[in-house]
Amino acid sequence: MAERIDLERIERNVFRDYFQDGLVDMLFGAYFLLIGLGLLGGSVAPFVVLIVFFAPLLRRLKARFTYPRTGYVEFRQGDPQALPWFVLGSVVLGLVALVAVLIATSVIAQPDHWYRWMPIFFSICLAGIFLGLALRVGLVRYYVDAGVALAGGPTFALLLLPGKLANIGLFFAAVGAVFLASGVFAFVRFLREYPLPTEGAGDVAD
């Protein structure tokens, strides 16, 4: 009782529990994979709209797999959140990096080549989001995801690929596949570490 009550650590543990199941990673990974395949195939619009199903699908999956194992929690609204600042900062940084690369490579004179460098912008945005999430919840796999996203940008931008959208398409497909695999691995481990409560040991009785 003499130790301080570290509310930040308690809150971080609660947030970490929410992300342990890997469902967010799986859904984002699948979404980016579809976007990437759509870009490679030349038509991404049908996949972009799928984002509207993200929240309802996540809620259903959590109700089916997560809440019966870890219990149900609602987070407080309106508290200052570090993640949105990371997102905003990442977008700004990504834009700055993209413009810097475009100027450095004299691409401004060749507008058709802009698409090739788009992976750099998105890689910085994604890296920022996952780094923010990693700092918020303390899960190692989000640091790895941030690193993968950051490395993916320059890697796929430097590839000489035919087609305007090939670089960005391959970037999203590759990053999406990594996130999906990471999410599946986390989900399987979660199911093993958090078995369903035994029959009859349900909620408190009246």
């Binding site: 529990d17 870890t70 149900y72």
Partner: protein, 109 residues
């Protein structure tokens, strides 16, 4: 006999500590509920490591004091007991933290 009656008013801050919050199990429950909007019974079981009976008993005490609100509902035919920290409970927890920090600083000095 209270510290005041004994003439030792320096111990009064310790005597004034909210005993309802001060109990370790209840303190854990309040600390978890303080950082979330609401949580169900199973979630609190996992977070606190208490037994069902223990958690249930302390929940009742906190509810009777008006520090938490307990709502029983059914979700897909499965019973769920949702707990939510009231404004009174939130203030009590904040006051407890402030009082304990003061007491511990005084003891350390």
């Amino acid at each position: 006999m209270s510290p005041t009656e004994m003439g030792n008013t320096d111990l009064q801050p310790i005597a004034d500590i909210d005993r309802l919050v001060h109990e370790p199990a209840r303190l854990m429950i309040l600390a978890v509920l303080y950082v979330v909007e609401s949580a169900d019974f199973t979630f609190l079981l996992r977070q606190t490591g208490l037994t069902r009976g223990n958690l249930s008993s302390h929940m009742t005490k906190l509810e009777d004091a008006g520090y938490i609100e307990v709502k029983k509902e059914f979700v897909d035919k499965i019973p769920r007991t949702l707990l939510h920290l009231t404004d009174k409970g939130r203030q009590a927890f904040q006051a407890y933290r402030k009082d304990m920090l003061q007491v511990l600083e005084d003891v350390a000095s």
